[in-house]
């Protein structure tokens, strides 16, 4: 009996490892398939103008989704990332226009993001608010605050040095995509090779057990939300370089795209399941669908519907597989 259960269990381990590998591969295949279809369907897709454009668009959602993933692994959610990104465009625009050196303005903007993340951690661990509520509250407040600071106006960023960044390319790849790599590599090391990554999973799996094992659960919550908010502020900086303005209404609805990318990438909203590569691929799948729909002149209203259906479909199949095990 022991041997049969052992064999079955061994098979289960192998199946699970194969599964997460296969899932990533399937997502990647889906992305390639979309690109192949679009290449044949429209001559405008595989062009030196469109591809960098697509990469730029996908990059920002990808970084948001990565930050979101840390939070979702702890079985939480961060609805504020779009608002944080929008607010950050205002912060960096005001700083640069006030004559603050660009490097310092970037650091200060990221610190503002950190402060927002710490506030989320405080609301969750000290005030006992559900993550959904506290981040929903900052979502609406930050949009308001940003509009208040600018009196509803848009701030033009006149620093050419700053706004040129988004148009730069290195080895033929747009700078914004390089930023994904710059963020993703440390994120991967953090999640998979440091104790903090292990603790994120432990807290998402069973916070009480983690606590009784000596994990500082509240601190880990702070870490997760701080990372998410800092990543969002970073996306705000990138967005500001791209559009050259500061405006609190920018990045509207990006939080949902980020969550969608995370979930499509195999992260479980129940916590303790997630990776770095998953949300990245998820973000570029979404970006490709939007880009392709534009090129094919599909009504932009349809894009939203297709995105919704895709989320349902991918997560449904993922749930199905998990349930069967």
């Amino acid at each position: 009996m022991t041997t049969t259960t052992e064999v079955a269990s061994k098979r289960a381990v192998a199946a699970r490892r194969n599964y997460s590998f296969l899932f990533a591969l399937t997502l990647l295949a889906l992305l390639v398939l979309l690109w192949a279809i679009l290449t044949f369907a429209t001559p405008n897709f595989l062009t030196s103008r469109n591809i960098p454009n697509l990469l730029r668009q996908g990059s920002m959602i990808a970084i948001l989704a990565l930050g979101q993933t840390f939070v979702v692994i702890t079985a939480g959610i961060d609805l504020s990332v779009g608002a944080v990104a929008g607010f950050s465009t205002v912060v960096i625009a005001m700083l640069i226009q006030a004559g603050v050196p660009v490097w310092l303005a970037i650091i200060m903007t990221l610190l503002v993001g950190l402060a927002i993340g710490i506030f989320h951690g405080f609301g969750i661990t000290r005030m006992g608010l559900p993550p959904f509520i506290i981040t929903l509250a900052t979502l609406t407040s930050l949009r308001g605050l940003g509009l208040l600071m600018t009196n509803g106006a848009t701030i033009n960023i006149t620093s050419k040095e700053f706004t040129d960044f988004a148009t730069l390319e290195f080895l033929g790849i747009p700078s914004l995509f390089w930023m994904v790599i710059v963020v993703a590599i440390p994120a991967y090391i953090f999640l998979s090779h440091t104790r903090w990554g292990r603790y994120l999973f432990a807290v998402g799996s069973n916070a009480e057990s983690a606590r009784l094992s000596g994990v500082r659960v509240q601190f880990i919550i702070y870490v997760a939300y701080s990372l998410s908010a800092v990543f969002a502020a970073f996306v705000g900086v990138l967005l500001a370089t791209r559009i050259g303005i500061g405006n609190a209404t920018q990045a509207d609805g990006w939080e949902l795209q980020a969550i969608a990318s995370t979930v499509i990438g195999g992260t479980s909203l129940f916590g303790a399941v997630g990776s770095v590569h998953g949300p990245l691929i998820g973000a570029f799948i979404l970006a490709t669908i939007n880009n392709g729909a534009n090129l094919l002149n599909v009504n932009s209203f349809w894009q939203r519907i297709i995105t919704g259906l895709l989320i349902i479909l991918i997560v449904f199949f993922d749930q199905l597989r998990r349930r069967n095990k």
């Binding site: 022991t2 259960t5 052992e6 269990s9 061994k10 289960a12 381990v13 699970r16 490892r17 090391i189 090779h193 440091t194 104790r195 292990r198 603790y199 999973f201 432990a202 799996s205 069973n206 009480e208 057990s209 983690a210 606590r211 009784l212 094992s213 000596g214 994990v215 500082r216 303790a272 399941v273």
Partner: protein, 508 residues
């Protein structure tokens, strides 16, 4: 005393009733663990049938089988002469089998009347007849002799009153067989009297009552017959008039000690932990000490305050007064990390809720307390991580093909080994084992006892918390007994008899 028992000695009234429900070799096992061994028993129409037994004796299993919450693995349930499936709770209710649980499972935010009629609301033209339902509910409650306001929110009542509402609800709708699970746990004396009056009236109306309780005095006050469960075995049934509490207690514990409790005498060393008049949520004024080489046992019923005390020592719950001394020095343990740093380890009561990260790999669980030690520079040494996990898996004989298997895929015994391995991996001076052998097979139990002996030989001290008397009785050098948050007895090894210890725990 009721009429039935007064007439008792010659011809117990219950004997005249015909059988309403019969168990024929009914059994339930979870994997290799026998929760209920083949039991044969006939419940009669219109009797109050008490069921007594220690924690884990199989009482809850029996209730769950009869109410369709779990499925039997063998035997038959015969209802009114025909075999029934009882696969779902709804089927049980349709037959007229109902239960009042220890914890109230009603909607706190609805009114008493709405709770009583939940799922069976009165409607006219698709609209709720609220006023009529409230009036009807009030009539029912008054008729039962409960002084409860039908219009009040359930949540505004005391737990005891809510229990009475649950009872009222369960006794409606043609209930013919009603199970009470420790119904008086939260009731005041007056509420209990109201409940007993209702129970007797239901009995006189021909309803069969199954009454589960730890409290001997209630059993003798209320029941017509009593059945005793021990270790999943139905030991026997007695007419209440023909037995006494001494006999029942003896039946509850007089077990064949088939398990081998591995105990080695280790010379005691320095005092590791001492508490002086420690109080906190769920326990009061507890003074104990633990030396190196010593097993200190905590015995008591579930909810007696043993686990709360342990969690407080471990820094999980704050103490309200009293003092903790660690190796002779007063300490103020404010969180778990501090306790762990001092050298205290806790294998908590519930593996599922407190002990394990079930949907994560075994290796991660085992290494969770020591990731700071595995970190060199910024990152974890993957090789060391694997070695440490594999060492515990090998040493403890955890039956898994890989440290990457999820903890949830393991059996109860192996899961317990993971929890223990986590702390062996970390190391500690004082090990607190809270119910370490619940849901664990006999073989693993013996291994766990051996492991404790090894820990003692290496100079550790152990606190062993158990609701299973033979276990603490045979293993503990000092046996403390808890009842309702207080220490009610402290006995040296084999100083008191089983009967005396059990009496201290349930307060006969």
């Amino acid at each position: 005393m009721s009429d039935a028992t007064a007439a008792g000695a010659a011809t117990p009234a219950a004997e005249t009733g015909d059988t309403i429900l019969e168990l024929r070799n009914l059994q339930k096992h979870y994997g290799p663990v026998q929760a209920l061994k083949p039991a044969t028993l006939a419940f009669r129409r219109g009797e109050i049938h008490a069921i007594v037994g220690e924690n884990g004796a199989g009482k809850s299993t029996l209730i769950k089988l009869l109410t369709g919450v779990i499925r039997r693995t063998g035997g038959d349930i015969v209802w009114n002469g025909s075999i029934v499936a009882l696969d779902t709770p709804q089927e049980a209710i349709d037959h007229g089998i109902n239960a009042v649980h220890q914890e109230v499972v009603l909607c706190r935010h609805l009114s008493v009347a709405a709770n009583i009629f939940l799922g069976d609301e009165k409607v006219r033209f698709g609209l709720l007849q609220k006023r009529e339902m409230t009036r009807e509910a009030q009539r029912i409650l008054d008729g039962m002799g409960f002084s409860l306001p039908a219009g009040a929110m359930l949540g505004s009542l005391t737990i005891g009153q809510q229990q009475l509402v649950a009872t009222a609800r369960a006794s409606l709708r043609g209930t013919k067989f009603l199970i009470f699970d420790e119904p008086t746990a939260y009731l005041t004396r007056q509420e209990a009297a109201q409940l007993f009056a209702l129970i007797r009236r239901l009995r006189d109306d021909g309803v069969t009552i199954v009454y589960i309780s730890h409290r001997m005095e209630e059993v003798f006050e209320l029941a017509d017959r009593v059945s005793v469960l021990r270790d999943g075995t139905l030991v026997g049934t007695r007419n209440i008039a023909e037995t006494n509490d001494t006999e029942l207690v003896a039946m509850m514990i007089n077990r064949s000690i088939e398990q081998i409790y591995h105990k080695e005498k280790v010379p005691f060393g320095e005092t590791l932990l001492e508490t002086r008049g420690l109080s906190g949520k769920g326990f009061e004024d507890v003074s104990i000490s633990v030396r190196r080489g010593e097993i200190v046992g905590f015995y008591g019923l579930i909810g007696a305050g043993r686990s709360e005390f342990a969690l407080s020592i471990f820094g999980r719950n704050p103490r309200t007064s009293g003092q903790i001394l660690w190796k002779g020095q007063p300490v103020d343990i404010r969180n778990e990390r501090q306790a762990i740093r001092l050298g205290i380890a806790l294998a908590p009561e519930s593996r599922r809720d407190q002990g394990l990260n079930l949907n994560l790999p075994i290796g991660l669980n085992i290494n969770l307390p020591i990731y700071d030690k595995l970190t060199h520079g910024l990152t974890i040494s993957g090789r060391e991580e694997a070695q440490r996990a594999d060492k515990q898996i090998k040493d403890l004989g955890i039956k898994t093909p890989s440290r990457r298997s999820l903890a949830s895929s393991m059996s109860g015994g192996n899961q317990q080994k993971i929890v223990i391995g986590k702390w062996l991996n970390h190391g500690a001076d004082l090990f607190i084992f809270d119910e370490p052998t619940v849901g664990v097979d006999v073989g693993t139990k013996a291994e766990i006892y051996r492991l404790m002996a090894d820990l003692l030989k290496n100079g550790a001290g152990i606190i062993l918390i158990s609701s299973y008397l033979p276990e603490v009785y045979e293993l503990a050098d000092t046996l403390h007994v808890f009842r309702t948050g207080h220490l009610t007895g402290s006995n040296a090894f084999h100083e008191a008899t089983h009967e005396e210890v059990l009496a201290e725990a349930i307060g006969v």
